[in-house]
């Protein structure tokens, strides 16, 4: 039941929620990630060695002394000498200089070319976007190494120039990333609002667009830095680097010449390249985590079984009347938080009789959906749930295994979600999404299930069932999709239907039709319905009984008639009075001259 918990992701996740730490800045968040610390330390060491090279060795990296060739480690040569007698340690630290400068050239050139072009193309679109995207695609289609070889054969060996050209070759990658980020943020309403506020374009880009682009670009730069070191070493290994300049790739080349006599010479440049490139990649990943762009970290799954509360009631308790479809006693739902568990449902109890429609009403955060999901056993993994009893027709759901719950869901308990579109799988046809559960739960043959699905589609008021059966979800409207989901929910003749804000995403005219449909199906099959909603109009339309929730507690349960005519709780009264429905209309504006 429990997944292994990665302390790193758990830590970053925990802090991501805490606003204080979020404000604390990137560096603070970065040092909480162990791999980032290791990578940073290594990169600092390399940079320090490169900068302080003259202090770290008195040897020249290029001075050869053929008499001292292949000298072992010893005083004066901490790592020995190579085939022509050059000091390996000096070559290594001066080589770091070459590598870092080369990589820096690539980063700067790709940034200077790619960032402004990406910003302009993404923000203004139009012709510049078309042309620059075309050029970027063309460049990306060229093999970089060929371009570099051509350039170097034309102008001769020159590491800095090669890296300069490579900066251009890799710039389209930066361009595309920046452009994509800009296009995404440009659709945000706050950018529209800034435009309406009269911000000039440069100011708008600086204040609202650039900050969003920075994070992905920084991550990409750390990766490009690593790639540049590898490409540069490759060129130098091929003998295309600048002459008279120590470099890691050049060292590899030299070591390769002496591979049979002194294989140890390969070790140092290889280690330097591998460690530095790995550090760049790890830093990139850590930056992504620290900047909040990490893929959703696994949440701790911690399902407290009922036994902890020590108050499990035996299933067939006598105080549950025969016609009660669902009985919930003292339901508690909580989520782990930074400061201990946070309880969102505090001991909710309610009962629904066969053929009754119970409305569970409340504002956002009142715990109404959490209550409904508890019955379905579909709370998010992080949640822990306990109840004295959740009894469904004599069976205690809290004691059921996952498999037994699965047999119940869809078969005896139907569910209608709030967002019809996101609850249909876009890659399957509507028909197969209806047929599969029926074959699974009812054991129907493919042909029978199809006939039944078509009959259901017709029943929920779809005029052309064959077409909808063969359609993909994106080919039907939102109202139609909700009808399909209702057809699916009632396909196995459930005894209890749980509808979570089933009409909130729909237009009022469609809402009225969907409510009619739920009412008819409910009456026809004598289903019990648990309807979660925030809309008192919907409650008045369809519910027999209403439970009002506030902050995880039920404050009032009453028949719909009583609730509207004589609300007992102050909160219920406040909610009903807040309704603008039926309030007097605003007076017409006085004719000119009368007021202003």
């Amino acid at each position: 039941m429990s997944l292994p918990t990665d302390p790193t992701t758990a830590a970053t996740l925990g802090h991501a929620i805490d606003p204080e730490v979020r404000r604390a800045g990137l560096v603070k968040r970065l040092v909480r990630i162990p791999t980032a610390v290791v990578a940073l330390v290594w990169l600092v060491v390399v940079v320090a060695a490169a900068v302080l090279a003259p202090l770290l060795t008195s040897q020249s990296p290029t001075a050869s002394d053929i008499l001292d060739a292949l000298a072992p480690r010893g005083p004066g040569h901490p790592l020995g000498t190579d085939g022509v007698g050059r000091d390996v340690w000096a070559q290594l630290i001066y080589g770091a200089r070459t590598s870092l400068v080369g990589a820096l050239i690539v980063v700067i050139v790709s940034l200077v070319v790619g960032l402004p072009a990406g910003l302009i193309a993404g923000y203004f679109r139009g012709r510049f976007d078309g042309i620059s995207t075309w050029i970027a695609s063309l460049l990306m289609a060229q093999p970089a190494i060929i371009i570099l070889l051509v350039v170097l054969t034309q102008v001769g060996r020159n590491t800095a120039l090669a890296m300069f050209v490579f900066g251009f070759v890799i710039a389209p990658g930066v361009f595309r990333l920046v452009r994509a980020s800009v296009i995404a943020v440009r659709e945000e309403l706050f950018v529209d609002a800034a435009r309406v506020s009269g911000l000039t374009d440069p100011r708008l880009i600086r204040r609202h667009i650039l900050p969003v682009v920075v994070a992905p670009t920084v991550i990409q730069m750390s990766q490009i830095f690593g790639i540049a070191i590898v490409v540069q070493a490759g060129l130098e290994f091929l003998g295309l680097g600048s002459a008279n300049q120590a470099s890691w790739g050049g060292m590899l080349n030299d070591a390769f010449q002496a591979i049979y006599t002194a294989p140890r010479l390969l070790v140092w440049p290889a280690l330097a390249i591998i460690l530095t490139v790995t550090a760049c990649a790890l830093l990139g990943n850590a930056l992504r985590d620290a900047l909040g762009g990490a893929p959703a970290a696994r949440r701790r799954r911690r399902r407290k079984e009922l036994s902890d509360t020590g108050s499990v009631t035996v299933s067939t308790s006598p105080d549950v009347a025969d016609d009660v479809a669902l009985q919930i006693d003292s339901l508690v739902v909580s989520y782990p938080g930074a400061a201990g568990d946070r309880e969102v449902v505090h001991g909710v109890s309610l009962a629904i009789r066969r053929g009754e429609v119970l409305g569970l009403v409340g504002e956002s955060g009142s715990g109404k959906s959490q209550t409904a999901f508890s019955v379905l056993g579909l709370l998010p993994g992080a949640a822990s749930m306990s109840a004295d009893r959740i009894q469904f027709h004599g069976e205690d759901l809290t004691t059921l295994s996952g498999a037994a719950m699965n047999r119940l869901r869809g078969r005896r308990i139907g569910y209608i979600p709030q967002e019809p579109m996101s609850n249909l799988d876009p890659s399957f046809r509507v028909g197969s999404q209806l047929v599969d559960p029926m074959r699974h739960h009812l054991g129907l043959s493919r042909k029978d299930a199809r006939a039944e699905a078509l009959r259901l589609l017709e029943r929920v008021g779809i005029r052309d069932p064959e077409r909808v059966f063969d359609a993909y979800p994106h080919q039907i409207s939102g109202g139609m999709a909700q009808r399909v989901l209702i057809a699916g929910a009632v396909s196995c003749n459930p005894e209890l239907l749980i509808a979570d804000e089933p009409t909130t995403a729909l237009d009022v005219t469609v809402q009225a039709e969907v409510l009619d449909l739920i009412r008819e199906l409910q009456a026809e099959r004598e289903m019990a319905v648990l309807l979660v909603t925030h809309n008192f109009g919907v409650v008045a339309d369809i519910c027999d009984t209403v439970a009002v929730m506030r902050d995880g507690r039920i404050v009032e349960v009453a028949s719909a008639d009583d609730l509207f005519s004589d609300p007992q709780d102050a909160y219920t009264r406040m909610l009903l009075e807040s309704s603008v429905e039926g309030a007097p209309a605003r007076k017409p504006l006085p004719v000119i001259g009368a007021t202003r």
């Binding site: 800034a194 237009d507 807040s578 000119i592």
Partner: protein, 282 residues
């Protein structure tokens, strides 16, 4: 009697290009005509896809005007250059539907409110005082200025968005479903805030909503949109209680009333109307 309306829209057509070779553009608005007077709220009601939000965006200069004209204080503002459009920002402002995405999550509330002031050339010290006054005007605590949008509830964020719209003391605010993402009790309070601000400052609203009851509460006059056209335009009370056009009638009968008996009556009338085929559009 012949006062020039604050905002006039004449035969407005908006089309969007469709991607793809030789695809004809989609016409979202088909010749819309309306006007908004100074200090007035014009409610714009319709279902999704009716073009009501597009109309609001066209007034704000965020949607392309294909044909027709939009005039503000008698001056044509459709097809203005960027510089002239920016100058209008002190007169026309906006409050969007979603208070979660309409505020930049990386900026403090104080910075969000100070930004339009800086555009208007208000000095820093004065801007700080103005931000304080604005927060006060929308009934938010003064220390809100140092906090980030995510530290506020939906209703509070919408108050921030309203404060931002008020920064430059505009003459017209386009409100695009400003209360539909809010909880019921918050909705009523935010609507009251809109009315209070209008009565104090004389600002006009073009108030877009899908909810007849909300529009009835705030609008002096109401226009009903259906498939890119205005099907009914008139006095708020009349349009929202005894509409003439079949589509508005259908819309009204489909809106549930929070009273079981009244709703049962309304439902019966709706089903009757639907079966007699007078439902207008489907």
């Amino acid at each position: 009697m012949t006062e020039t309306p604050l905002l006039e829209v004449d035969d407005l057509v908006v089309e969007y290009d469709v991607r793809g070779f030789r695809r004809s553009p989609v016409r979202v608005l088909h010749g819309i005509a309306l006007d908004v007077r100074r200090g007035e709220t014009l409610g714009l009601v319709g279902e999704s896809g009716s073009g009501k939000s597009t109309l609001g965006r066209a007034v704000l200069g965020l949607a392309p005007v294909t044909e027709g004209e939009i005039r503000f204080e008698g001056r044509a503002i459709s097809g203005l250059g960027k510089r002239e459009r920016r100058a209008l920002s002190s007169d026309i402002q906006v409050v969007f539907q979603d208070p979660y995405t309409s505020l930049n999550p990386a900026m403090t509330v104080g910075d969000i409110l100070a930004e339009p002031l800086a555009v208007g050339g208000v000095a820093k010290g004065e801007a700080r005082q103005r931000v304080k006054d604005l927060l006060d005007a929308v009934h938010l605590p003064t220390d809100a200025a140092q906090r980030l949008p995510r530290e506020f509830s939906g209703g509070q964020r919408q108050r921030v968005a309203i404060a931002r719209a008020l920064c430059r003391e505009p003459k017209l605010i386009v409100c695009d479903e400003p209360v539909s993402a809010l909880d019921l009790s918050t909705q009523a309070r935010v609507l009251d805030l809109f009315v209070e601000i209008q009565e104090r400052t004389g600002v006009a609203y073009l108030f877009v909503s899908h909810d007849l009851a909300v529009v009835r509460h705030i609008a002096h006059r109401v226009a009903v949109m259906y498939r890119g056209e205005i099907v009914e335009l008139g006095d708020g009370d009349t349009v929202t209680s005894t509409p003439e056009h079949p589509y508005t009638q259908k819309l009204l009968l489909a809106s549930p009333v929070p009273d079981p008996d009244a709703q049962a009556t309304r439902r019966a009338r709706r089903l009757e109307a639907a079966s007699s085929g007078a439902g207008g559009a489907r």
